[in-house]
């Protein structure tokens, strides 16, 4: 039963067990198709739970953004939009290679699959690298919520070359609320980054298995399901980017 080679015995068995031919077929499933459908349905459901998980933070974001809109605008303006935009492009590229990886597995091209998985990982790591520099900048500006959090920048905004404030100054009370924005920023992008790190660990595991040719003999479910997960992580970022970076890019241009 473990062998995929066709011999009379295997023919007989597969007729009895509805075409059991893949070594990865698990016997409580009647058919391979049932197994594949169950796997991908399970993955979609898991992504649904992920949406609900992030949903709690999006709900908090919605509430506090409505309450403390000015603080959210001011804090959002200190984020590095260029880095954020670059990261969006990097992440979409990574997702693109992941999609190609699923295709490569389906057309059974082993080396191509491994290559695409490596590229997916490289761009994923690049995203985290950019994120590291963004976080570092926040540490230097004392924009990390906690004891060292500093609101002076929001009460007395930095001046530009003409000597004008780069953004409207906030009353101290409202300026305090920027801390909530930065908490949500760190919680949401941090949770997103955590999902990316888990994804990258899984990518290395999948690469090893792909190298052994496990996914290019007709059994593509793990690649397909991981692809769903990776695209989900992309989509979360697609929401995070405008919500966190692009609240109101030009607060003085009214």
């Amino acid at each position: 039963m473990d062998s995929a080679t066709v011999n009379p015995q295997a023919e007989h068995d597969s007729a009895k067990h509805h075409h059991v031919s893949l070594p990865q077929h698990r016997h409580h499933f009647e058919t391979e198709e049932q197994q594949r459908e169950a796997g991908s349905f399970g993955m979609w459901l898991f992504l649904l739970t992920e949406i609900m998980f992030f949903g709690g933070m999006f709900f908090a974001y919605l509430l506090y953004r409505n309450w403390y809109y000015d603080a959210f605008v001011a804090a959002s303006n200190t984020l590095n939009v260029k880095m954020g935009a670059a990261n969006t492009a990097i992440l979409i590229t990574s997702g693109f290679f992941m999609a190609l990886g699923v295709w490569a597995a389906e057309v059974r091209k082993k080396n191509l699959l491994v290559l695409f998985l490596i590229l997916t990982t490289v761009f994923g790591c690049a995203f985290l690298g950019v994120k590291y520099f963004e976080y570092k900048e926040k540490f230097e500006l004392h924009h990390v919520p906690g004891n060292s959090f500093d609101v002076s920048q929001f009460i007395n905004p930095p001046l530009n070359a003409q000597g004008n404030a780069t953004r409207p100054p906030l009353p101290p009370d409202m300026a305090q609320k920027t801390q909530l924005f930065f908490f949500l920023y760190f919680a949401m992008t941090g949770m997103h980054a955590l999902h990316m790190i888990i994804g990258i660990v899984l990518l290395f595991w999948l690469m090893g298995r792909a190298q052994r040719g496990e996914f290019t003999e007709g059994y593509v479910a793990p690649i397909e399901n991981f692809g769903l997960y990776w695209h989900f992580v992309d989509i979360v970022w697609i929401f995070l980017f405008p919500l966190l970076y692009l609240i109101n890019l030009h607060p003085l241009a009214h």
């Binding site: 409580h28 399970g42 898991f46 739970t49 992030f54 909530l180």
Partner: protein, 557 residues
């Protein structure tokens, strides 16, 4: 064949009968064959032992609470110890007993068999669920040993984040992990129900037990992640002071309650829906009738799941929410009573003109119907805005949710355990003793919790360990009842353990029930079915069963 009067029980001839030598229990030997199993039936057994363990720990705390409340003065434990007692009681009973009780044991065991499948869709994830549960349980015990936690099971902010010096983060981590156990169980059930049904098993041929679990699984999958994030935020607020629930930093403590109750109200339906599934099976079997209004009962499960997501704010009426939203949530709360009542009425109509017999599972089921109805109706009292302000945070609310959770869910759990015990173990429990246990439980339960309705109505607040002396008589009744109730719960443990070795051999179908699980041997084979069945009849089709039995007799004889 042994004939009983007034019983549908049909046991094989005990002189010759044997439990089948080859079954899922004897399939493999050794501890590791259990700890690394992928078999849903073995995992169900692991769960059954673990939740029973935690039930008695939680029960011990309940016993201490009642003992303290025997007298008006705080003479047994200090006030902060008392706070820890009811917190640990709540945390253990809710997260480690009630949520996994029926789904993880009976559901795990029966859903694949009822659908004609060999296992759940993801056996490894199923085992992972159990390990997550055990890790969560161990962490809870760790928090307990280290000195406990006294936030109440609700972790209300800012009490939990700013004012308490107990093991909140450990307990929160425990609940976070146990939550994922619940998510994976729900996910496994939904995929199994969608993708693993045998040929001919259409949605409307599924037993109502499966429908109830489907609805509960939706709640587990959609609700639990929100609890997870709420718990994460509490832990972060407590450890690094993120400010999201801290009013001094602009945060809103009520946000926590919205997130918490968004899960924890649906969670009560996670707890009760699988119990309702059990009751549908039991009522039908012991009145020999198809469940009246099968479709209505099936859809009412889904309706409860759906409405259940839109009533959470009724836990917060006095917490400073807007009057208009309270009005809307009050109305929505009333709406949940409709599908619940549909179930109760349909079960009542199933009983009507049925050939009712009074075996133990049926006694527990009757207990469920009566007590759940009282629990549900007092829920309507509490859902009404004006009444809620009078009754909330009193013993009335304690009595209300114990009627639903203990009178409802625990009765359903025991009903189900007795009903499927012969299927799970191949042996019968002692009928007379178990009937006594059912009656003792019912009497003990009412003696414990009916006085609490009166206490609450008179104004005795919950969560205090002393009270004015005029409340003592009712409290003594309640504590006496709790003692009786404790005996009622200990009895099944003893005689069920006894029956494992000495119980009568049950045979395949002692109750003459129609479900697919009763058409295979007891205990089942590891692969459940030697050949995947084809479902060619409706659920609860007793004529089909009669025809099949008659056919068997002619071919064998």
């Amino acid at each position: 064949m042994k004939e009983h009067d007034n019983s549908i029980l049909r046991l094989p001839d005990q002189a010759t009968a044997q439990v089948p030598k080859k079954n899922f229990i004897t399939a493999e030997d050794g501890l590791m064959s259990w700890l690394l199993t992928g078999d849903h039936k073995r995992i169900a057994m692991l769960y059954l032992f673990s939740i029973t363990f935690f039930f008695f720990i939680g029960g011990a705390f309940a016993g201490l609470i009642r003992l303290e409340l025997l007298t008006p003065m705080p003479d047994l434990v200090a006030s902060d110890t008392y706070n820890k007692l009811f917190t640990m009681h709540g945390v253990i009973m809710v997260f480690l007993f009630l949520v996994p009780s029926v789904p993880a044991t009976l559901g795990n065991f029966l859903i694949p068999i009822m659908l004609g499948a060999r296992d759940l869709a993801f056996p490894k994830i199923n085992l992972l669920s159990w390990y997550l549960y055990i890790i969560g349980g161990t962490l809870t015990l760790t928090a307990l040993v280290l000195g406990g936690v006294d936030t109440g099971w609700t972790f209300t902010t800012p009490l939990s984040t700013h004012y308490l010096n107990t093991h909140v983060v450990t307990t929160a981590t425990a609940i976070f992990i146990a939550g994922f156990s619940s998510i994976f169980t729900g996910l496994n059930f939904i995929v199994t129900i969608h993708r693993m049904r045998c040929p001919g098993m259409t949605w409307f041929r599924m037993p109502l037990f499966v429908w109830a679990h489907y609805a509960a699984s939706i709640l587990m999958v959609l609700g639990t992640p929100v609890l997870a994030i709420a718990i994460v935020l509490v832990a972060l607020e407590r450890t690094i002071g993120i400010g999201v629930f801290d009013p001094t930093k602009g945060g809103d403590p009520l946000l926590f309650q919205h997130l918490f109750w968004f899960y924890s109200h649906p969670a009560v339906y996670i707890m009760i829906l699988p119990g309702m599934g059990v009751i549908s099976e039991v009522i039908s079997t012991f009145s020999r009738k198809r469940v009246f209004g099968y479709t209505a009962v099936a859809f009412s499960s889904v309706a409860i799941a759906l409405f259940g997501f839109f009533v959470w704010e009724h836990h917060m009426f006095i917490m400073g929410v807007s009057n208009y939203s309270a009005l809307v949530f009050s109305l929505l709360t009333m709406l949940v009573a409709v599908p619940s009542a549909i179930k109760i009425f349909n079960w009542a109509f199933t009983l009507q003109k049925g050939s009712i017999t009074f075996e133990t599972p049926m006694l527990y089921a009757f207990g469920f119907m009566g007590l759940f109805t009282i629990g549900g109706l007092t829920g309507v009292f509490l859902g009404s805005l004006g009444m809620d302000i009078q009754l909330t945070e009193t013993y009335f609310i304690v009595a209300h949710f114990h009627f639903v959770m203990v009178g409802g869910m625990l009765m359903a759990f025991l009903s189900g355990v007795h009903f499927w015990w012969p299927k799970m173990t191949g042996r019968m429990y002692p009928e007379a003793l178990s009937k006594l246990a059912a009656v003792v439980t019912f009497i003990g339960f009412n003696l414990t919790f009916l006085p609490q309705f009166i206490l609450g109505y008179l104004g005795m607040p919950r969560r205090y360990h002393s009270y004015p002396p005029e409340f003592q008589i009712l409290n003594v009744m309640s504590t006496a009842g709790a003692t009786v109730l404790g005996i009622g719960y200990l009895m099944p443990v003893i005689y069920l353990a006894w029956s494992l070795k000495y119980g009568a051999v049950a045979g395949d179908n002692p109750w003459q029930a129609t479900g697919l699980e009763w058409q295979i041997q007891s205990p089942p084979l590891t692969e459940n079915f030697t050949e995947i069945p084809i479902m060619d009849h409706e659920a609860y089709d007793y004529e089909w069963l009669e025809h099949k039995t008659a056919h068997e007799v002619t071919t064998v004889g």
